[in-house]
Symmetry: C3
Subunit: 261 residues, 3 copies
């Protein structure tokens, strides 16, 4: 399988030399490979943030890329490192569940534990497996090696539970699953499952009545509810920051009910 290149998603930030070191290791093994930065601003050690990020981004990529993810609070412990094939996408990840919200389609994921040290850097540090294991393995994969050489198939891995969602006939209770750069609150309540007719939406002690189609449907500063670009209920302040305005964090409860008005 030919490789289109390698993507990088980390919590390393831009001021540290860690992303650069990974790029150097990759280019040392496969000098012609293409590299794509997805994000280096995953909040430190925030596996839930990474999980939402990957679920919202990876499905848009064609097969044939190798997605390296380094959000790894367990680095150096006995947590495994994994090669994953899910819905045609190939990832290299720590076994902490960060990839498990990517929709898997009709085929179950294929998961291998990385055990074959010949594809790693000769010396492996205790605190930077991104540079010492994932980067060189990604480079070798991009050169076309058979993933079966990386290590054995496993059928146990860490799964990140989905945020809780309760559906009753006229009422849904979910939560804020992600807060984006604009401060928009992306919930886990599916847009197509919303009750038909007038709605009442509650979050952080505030009530909204009804939905808009897009931000521009209400004046700047208005608190609105809409269906997000990911297909779920979103709460936003038009040209403002809903997370800051409402003082809300990921995990905040959101309730939707049919309005009696």
């Amino acid at each position: 399988m030919n490789s289109l290149g390698i993507t990088l998603t980390t919590d390393f930030g831009d001021c540290s030399p860690y992303v650069a070191a990974m790029k150097g290791v990759i280019l040392s093994i496969h000098p012609a490979v293409r590299l794509f930065d997805l994000s280096h601003a995953i909040p430190p050690q925030d596996i839930r943030h990474a999980a939402h990020f990957l679920a919202a981004a990876i499905p848009y990529f064609p097969p044939g890329l190798i997605h390296v993810v380094v959000v790894d609070p367990g680095v150096g412990s006995d947590r495994a490192l994994l090669y994953v094939e899910v819905a045609g996408h190939r990832l290299l990840v720590p076994d902490n569940g960060c990839w498990t919200r990517i929709p898997s389609g009709d085929q179950p994921p294929l998961v291998r534990r990385l055990t074959e040290r010949r594809f790693w850097r000769p010396t492996v540090s205790a605190t930077f497996h991104g540079r010492d294991i994932l980067a060189p393995v990604a480079a070798h994969l991009s050169l076309g090696i058979d993933p079966a050489l990386l290590g054995p198939v496993v059928d146990e891995w860490v799964r990140l539970p989905s945020p809780p969602l309760r559906q009753e006939p006229d009422r849904m209770v979910g939560e804020v699953a992600f807060i984006d750069h604009f401060g928009n609150l992306i919930t886990n309540i599916p847009g197509e499952a919303l009750p038909i007719g007038p709605l009442r939406i509650s979050v952080a002690g505030r009530q909204l009545t009804g939905m808009v189609r897009t931000y521009a449907d209400a004046p700047a500063g208005t608190l609105v509810a809409l269906v997000s670009s990911q297909g779920t209920l979103e709460i936003a302040v038009v040209q403002g920051n809903a997370a800051r305005t409402l003082g809300v964090r990921v995990g905040e409860m959101v309730e939707v009910s049919a309005s009696s008005d």
Copy 2:
């Protein structure tokens, strides 16, 4: 026209999955295309910032790239999306004036409204036209399709007025047009139009007398005026942050007069 690749300029920030989703969409249509990040740190919905950014950056590129800009407070409304050719550069932008400060040279811009849905993603969300329209159109353009297929030529578009500039024989009044990452104040007062001889410069209640050639011409911490790398009057604190020191924002008045000393 062969394509050198696609550049991306957005206000999406680095922690959100939106830039990654756009890269995935582009690579799905044109797997071999080259991608260049220009910035994902345009302040949210700040069209003026984007306009200055593009005017200061795009002229340095060769023709043959496609520049995608997503700073789009009007997403999902009836604002148009545009294909623009200006001074040999090709852009895909929301019709909010963000591109209209790029110097157009002797040829008027050629502008098309994007109407041909066959180059879009099959489902278009109401809040993410960057992913659903601009990214796929950019990918198709980079594959060499004729821009005429994208939609009709239009001769009306939003123009962002230039910041006001008043020139009198011995006096110019302009404003801070941009504040860069260092806190340097980039004004709209052209360097070549400055009165000859000793100058007095006023900003935010502070007076400067005379200009320096570069930052290193004065000790750290000094408030200085100089000609910016963009050719306009700039006010800086040597190895410091003028915006923070003076408490100044974009739009602050700046006055230059011939000094009577």
Copy 3:
């Protein structure tokens, strides 16, 4: 010598148009070149930060890339701009010592002063030599020109002194040499030089006894000492931010002694 591409390391931040302008200049001269962002978040004018960054990143790259570094408080003054070959790596840098902590191996560095204006932009501003000199020179180098054409070999350049390190039989005194994005304190005390047996480590009035192998060896919130991925003593708060917790900056003294326990 064929080029694998050009890397960019700057203190320009992501909201300013300066990185984009440099990419445009490079692509105008060498449209097919590959560009790699290493960092644009070096703290403004922080040469020490850049020096640590480069020392921790550049050695991982293969030869054949051109590394452009723009952290340049002396821009426009009579400080030189340099072409450097060190340990097989090629850099273009301001002469401020930022590259001088890259291990040079057994060969002394080869250093040229950039003097040949035919490889520069026709007009050189006083405040943006990254765009006007380093970017075009990098592009020409990536096209294969002989570095000898750039300017004469020099044998004097600014050296950044290493942070002080005092070794006594049972005691080492060094300092915090770098603080990474996680707030981990990377010291200049070599891991292999640590006294054998139980250790006592002091920093900012806090005492640590003993080392861990990796972050996951202690509960979240614990202050720990370990050997960093760069091989030196590191002080970290597990899943926390040691710099913030201890209120420590680069240059803070760190002392290690054999524990009498």
